[in-house]
Point group: C2
Chain length 119, copies 2
Amino acid sequence: MDEMDAAMALVDKWRSQSRKGFLDLCALSLLASRDESYGLDMMEALAQAGLEVSEGTLYPLLARMTREGSLSPSWTTPETGHPRKYYRLSPTGQLVLAAMREEFDRNVAALRRIEGGTR
Amino acid sequence: MDEMDAAMALVDKWRSQSRKGFLDLCALSLLASRDESYGLDMMEALAQAGLEVSEGTLYPLLARMTREGSLSPSWTTPETGHPRKYYRLSPTGQLVLAAMREEFDRNVAALRRIEGGTR
DNA sequence: TCCAAATATCTTGCTATGCAATGCATAATA
DNA sequence: TATTATGCATTGCATAGCAAGATATTTGGA
C-alpha cells in the first residue's frame, strides 16, 4: 500500500533525529560497564545489544566527548595487531552519565504518563 | 565544585539534542490518547506529565507534522474565546506512531542491555 | 471608548548531531 | 610485494530544538 510507504519514509527520517543524544548515553553506559574499550570494539558491542552504529557516527561522537572532557583516550599498541585508541570515562564523564540517566528515565516516565491508558 | 559545573553545562547542551525526535513521539502519543487537542492545550498536558515544551518548539513541530501528513488540523472558533487550531492523527500519523513506538521501545531495551549489570 | 492583559499561533536565526561517503595508515597473509 | 583486514578520522548535508520576538483576536477595566 501507498500509505504504508509514506509512513516508513517519515520514520526513516525520524530515526536519525531520535538517536541524537541517545547515542551519547549508550556510549557512556557501555564504557561504564566495560571500564574501557576502543572504537570498533564498541561498535560491535552496541550491535550485539541491538544498536547498529556506523563509524561515521561513532568516531565523531568519541572525538567530541573527548574534546568536552567526558572521555580519556589512550593509545595502545598491542604486541600483535593494529594500534588502538582506548577510551575510559573521566570523572566528569561519570557525572555526565549519571545526570543523563536521570533525565532519560524521567523522560521515559513522562512518555508513559502521556500514553496514559491508550496502550 | 568546578567539575560539577562542567558536567552540568555539558548536560544542558545534551538536553535539547536528546529531545529531537522524542518530542514527535510524545506529541503523537498525546493526540492518540486525547483524540484531538490544540497547541497551548498540548503544552499544558505535556507539562502536566513532566515534560516542559516551549511554543517555539511545539508550533514548528505541529506545522512540520501537518506538512508531512501525520496530522490533520482544523480551525474552530468557539462561541466564546480565541480561535483554536485543533489537531488529530491522520491514518498515516497512526502508522507513524506505531512504528516510532516499536523502535523507541527497541532502543530502550538495547540501552538496558548495554547498561548490563552495572546499575 | 480606549488601553492593557490574556489567549493563541507563527517566524527567524543559531547551534549541534547523525550519517553516508571517503580517505588514510598499519598489520597480517598469501 | 600485493592484497586484505584492522582501525581511526574528516567532510558535507539535512534536520530538529529553542530563545526571542511578531502577529492577531478577545476580554475586562478605567
